[in-house]
Symmetry: C2
Subunit: 496 residues, 2 copies
């Protein structure tokens, strides 16, 4: 048989895989370096207290019709920025074309631009560090939290706002010059955004590249970041999202895998379901979904009422669209007004995890959310605001709520209060939990599957798979890799 | 250090990988079985000639305003079906928010439903066979071509058209009961569709499952299909799309890799760029793209004129939207009318391929197309209708056109005329070529990269990566694996 392309050269080694193994081993080492190297724990605490003291903002609620730079678009009432950029608040109608469920309407944020959530990494003393930023966001109930090195919309870094330039953004715009550890477009809240995504990227610069940590920035090891993640409201949503994308997987048996969690992240063995089966399950749900979504004017969203003050659900459930006036000390633009989404109550976001065949798996829920581009992504076992569903029928994402909230303390591996993005959401706080499941693992149904941690890592190389809440929990799972345990209170946020 | 999840069980073997290797080896064997087992070559020829003779349709062009079951929506002129399902023809406006390029408007097909392109596989005589369907589509210039087992829109298989049920669709709706070889949502023509995708799925049924091949169906080996792919206009677009998704990769060194093409498909070694680098390059282009797309009424599309007959470009370039009346013998519904997109000229779709470090790579173009969900996907080296660009400036996808069309015959590995989907496009034919590049491979720039064949296979496990034209070419590349060479004429289609 003719050989169209003659096979002459010898097989090459698999450098892609060797490089992945080295990276995974170095991440594992950084996760174990809980004391830090470039920035000692004491130094960090002093610096962080200083940022909390100096980077202050006065955030006042104002009526939507008093926003400046924003206007209600004639004919629709949609809230749009005068520049036509940033984002808009409009209406969405969701219906089931198969007629199986009644459909609904709601306000959403439309932000078609793709921003950058970028983390610069560099070795100090042979250990990988990450450049974290102390950043005040208007929706944060506690002001400053730790964000990635860069957290910027396209309008931000392309200077639509005419403010200062975004520091360090060049490392991501010219990522090809450096060692890229992770780089994918990932979705954000599919219940509040329509089609929103950000580029989640981690770039390691060589030791020869000078990167000065500005006043709002410090170099931390993964071990330090993981300890802070266990505290309430320190590591912000965008940081969690990009941390989740770090390629822990593929380190092989040589990795310093001192814990079962870390081993399940780095060794690609022993999944209950082959990855192809998970992909097929998801493709089937996406193709089978009858959910159809269309835009409706904000003034005509059924079930919601608009006043001069805000847009709110008629029964007081879900969230409100409010306005805020911000006067900040530490931002590019020092005074502005903007709309924010304010949920009416605290949510619960949780993974049940179990060792199956010696490998740690998380129970994921294939969840349909109207604002997601692919409609269905892998979500946490539980992701809900319980008070939104006072009566049956409960949606699938409440199915394991009791198992999570009533688990005995020794099975609760992680329990912290963490905030959603403070640039779009006002005092949006969820209780994040990781709970060990000791029962029979045969509790899967049409929308639940046990997925091994290394499979989640593999899926996170790509977009469209794990929703933002699941990514937050993956970062929390990684934080258990060093053997630490959650220290947050997990209590309710004080009423405002 | 405390071990939160005690690591007790021994590491398991990697069954996921072993299974992938077995599958890849069986696909390679089927590709080498060019004579067939279940259906001999003579038997196939007789059957196919019979289908061409018996499955005839009369397709007449009619004016758009004479379509029945379709109407021009008041206020927009958009062409919509009376049921609100199937698809619509509307306008799209594309602009560059950075102001770097002028933008344009055009008609597009909007078809938000996800259909099924499904192939049933089964072993006969120890060799994998695939159930191919002889199907007449109204836009095919030659009537019958070979399609996958199932090629159905959601409206088709959920019976909106009140016709006969879709045979074999249950194998894909209940894919989890069988061995799923491939399953992903893949895009279609980003220049003609907005947001269109289909579930591309291959399901292998066990030998114990009875699957009767209906009158329009025959079991063929990959080797047989590959030979037919080298002929003009036999294997239709949907079949090529789903064939491209077959998991050739990962067979390892034990596979029967008699050719360099097959070896480069199955052995995951020696890529010029690590896969992470390719993913990062693509994420950067997607995030950096300033392309913004919005809907406009079909009656108001700038640069296009609408008559009672059709919608056409003012300069006679690109395509027309026409109407057809179909009277068919072999379809679920026997008479209907519908709009179709009719390109004004034949296109060229080509990969330059090269052995780099002994591994076959294809030169892919990261191409921005307004109708793609992620805006940028990996496209062929050349993908254009040359007559649309009579003068400079030529778009990037024309950059290697001369190298392709003027290559000496011994470097042309594949050269066939293949049709695009006959259910939406009228006489849409492209000349598909694979041309060996013998020059220096350092010809990459911002939008071109050499990608190894096994990397393309890896990306095809997921959606959003390879556009439909590139997938067609991947199927053509696979067809070289058995050592056959293209036999199509590659000549121009006769003028109608």
């Amino acid at each position: 048989m003719a050989d169209v392309f003659p096979a002459t050269a010898p097989p090459l080694g698999p450098p892609d895989r060797q490089s992945a193994m080295r990276t995974a081993a170095r991440l594992a080492e950084s996760a174990l370096a809980v004391e830090g190297v470039a920035t000692g724990d004491r130094e960090f605490r002093d610096w962080y207290a200083g940022r909390v003291r100096d980077d202050v903002a006065e955030v006042r609620r104002i009526a939507l019709d008093r926003l400046s730079g924003w206007r209600a678009e004639p004919g629709t009432g949609n809230l749009v920025h005068d520049s036509g950029r940033f984002f808009s608040v409009e209406g969405l109608a969701a219906e089931d074309v198969d007629g199986g469920s009644p459909g609904w309407e709601q306000p959403v944020i439309r932000q078609p631009e793709i921003g950058i959530l970028g983390l610069v990494a560099k070795e100090f003393g042979g250990v990988l560090h990450f450049l974290m930023q102390a950043k005040n966001e208007p929706g944060n109930h506690n002001g400053v939290q730790l964000s990635p090195t860069v957290q910027a919309t396209r309008s931000n870094y392309s200077r639509v706002h005419r403010g200062a330039s975004v520091p360090y953004v060049e490392f991501f715009q010219q990522a090809g010059r450096h060692h890229v550890l992770a780089d994918s477009l990932q979705s954000e809240q599919g219940s509040w955004f329509v089609g929103k995504r950000n580029r989640n990227i981690v770039v390691e610069v060589g030791r020869e590249v000078e990167v000065e940590a500005g006043e709002s920035f410090r170099w931390l090891t993964l071990g330090q970041i993981h300890r802070l993640l266990a505290e309430d409201d320190v590591i912000n949503m965008d940081a969690r999202s990009v941390l989740a994308c770090l390629p822990f997987g593929g380190a092989g048996e040589g990795a310093p895998a001192s814990t079962a969690v870390l081993r399940s992240c780095v060794e690609e063995t022993g999944a209950l379901h082959p990855t192809g089966e998970i992909l097929s399950w998801l493709a089937g749900l996406r193709a089978g979904s009858g959910l159809a979504v269309r835009r409706v004017p904000l003034d005509e969203v059924r079930g919601w009422k608009r006043t001069e003050e805000c847009v709110a659900h008629e029964d007081g459930r879900f969230f409100r669209v409010i306005g805020v006036d911000v006067r900040a000390a530490g931002r590019e633009v020092r005074q502005w007004t903007q709309p924010l989404i304010e949920p009416v109550a605290q949510g619960v976001v949780a993974f049940l995890v179990a060792e199956i065949g010696g490998v740690v798996h998380a129970l994921v829920n294939a969840r349909t959310q109207a604002g997601l581009i692919d409609k269905v992504e892998l979500a946490p076992t539980v992701q809900c605001v319980p008070s939104n569903y006072p009566r049956a029928p409960y949606p699938p994402q409440l199915r394991f709520l009791d198992e999570v909230l009533e688990a005995p303390a020794e099975r609760v591996r992680f329990d912290s209060r963490l905030s959603e993005e403070g640039g779009r959401f006002h005092h949006a706080v969820n209780r994040y939990l990781i709970v060990d499941w000791h029962g029979d693992h045969r509790i899967e149904d049409d929308t639940f599957r046990w997925v091994a941690l290394h499979q989640l890592a593999g899926l996170l190389r790509h977009g469209h798979y794990l929703n933002i809440e699941a990514r937050s929990l993956v970062a929390c799972l990684h934080s258990l890799a060093g053997g630490t345990r959650a220290t947050g209170t997990g209590e309710e946020v004080p009423a405002r």
